[in-house]
Symmetry: C2
Subunit: 222 residues, 2 copies
Amino acid sequence: MARIKVPNTPSIRRMPTYLHKLMQMRDEGEEFASTTAVAEYMNLDPIIVRKDFSLTGLTGMPGVGYKTKELIEAVRHYLGWDRERTACLVGAGSLGSALIGHEEFAEYGLRITLVFDSDPAKIGRVLHGREIFDVRKMRRKVKAAKPDIAVLCVPSSCAQMVADELVKSGVRAFWNFANVSLRMPDGILVQREVIAGGFAVLSAKLLRGADGKTGDKMADCD
Amino acid sequence: MARIKVPNTPSIRRMPTYLHKLMQMRDEGEEFASTTAVAEYMNLDPIIVRKDFSLTGLTGMPGVGYKTKELIEAVRHYLGWDRERTACLVGAGSLGSALIGHEEFAEYGLRITLVFDSDPAKIGRVLHGREIFDVRKMRRKVKAAKPDIAVLCVPSSCAQMVADELVKSGVRAFWNFANVSLRMPDGILVQREVIAGGFAVLSAKLLRGADGKTGDKMADCD
DNA sequence: TAGATTGTTAATCGATTAACAATC
DNA sequence: TAGATTGTTAATCGATTAACAATC
């Protein structure tokens, strides 16, 4: 009954931003990327970036930096983003729609292949190239397609019910944007996104943070 | 040039979920809330919750718990959510739309009063009761309304430009959903939301986490 | 060589967890 | 009283930061 913890969570959370910056550098033709450059972009201490890069196992070149392309691949591999993960998404409201339309996910190996909703006005319509299916067909279609992940964008009132149904259909990992903590059988992975969490941190910064008197920078990644 | 850190960031991030659960308990008529009950809901250790509650300064009753209503107020006050913050939102796409429609923000003291977009098809339309204004009118309107916060939901390619414009218009705090790290003058607060960060953690869980062999629970709040 | 940056070890800091007496 | 839970102090753990030799 012990609780599982993923080690290096803070580092893992920084990885996507590294990746984004590194891909940009690559596209601009930069053969090498130094921790100094990446750190400056993110308002971080270079030491943090160096430690994080070392997690990938890749080794850089003193005085120069890391080979940009190699580093990109190393970060991808570290996150498991070099393999494809299929996902179904439930709830094609504005949030669901935003996620489906987020092109960068494709680069991260996330492929949303199935979309469900219960709204008759939405069912049958096509969203970013995906047909929206009736949620009543969910069990059958999910059992057939066996997506790795389910992305929950349903109202919080029905999230638990939908999640239960998906577990019965064989889904073992959830990315939960609904505003509830799901109760799940052991062994099912859940990543909950609490959108208000970021606002809480911003509120704390407003309350206690930089008051304009100091000339300090604030890292924007926590 | 030292970097400012907000202390207790992990605790602060948990607060919105506490608040959500506590409000639910209050609505169900529960006069008292114990850390045990709240912790169980979130798959956390009760000690964590107790330490977090103590940050608010409120003191509970041994053997019973905390007065639910008092605790709600204490958490609100701790986050500064007992005062109203006005915000303008730029970019009325699906993500912006989702945020405007998120009713719970009102309970957290966040009032999105101004909405801007550059798309002629959107300008003039009404979204969740707010008229969408032409982004070219932004500077004038923001200078007049003086919102505390700007919520950025614009494409990453123009986020910096929009942010610069808003700083010139007097905005000093940003909630940035665009996929770029903004460069800002000292003293301007930025909270960046990296949506892919959660997916990175989920990917790591899939790669290294519970493989179904163990009967362990996984806290879903990191 | 001088300058920049890496990789690694050790020090510090802060968050989590454990232990337990106090209280309803 | 017995059971549950709080509040606090101390121990542990892990992440960040500092220091510095090694290398291009």
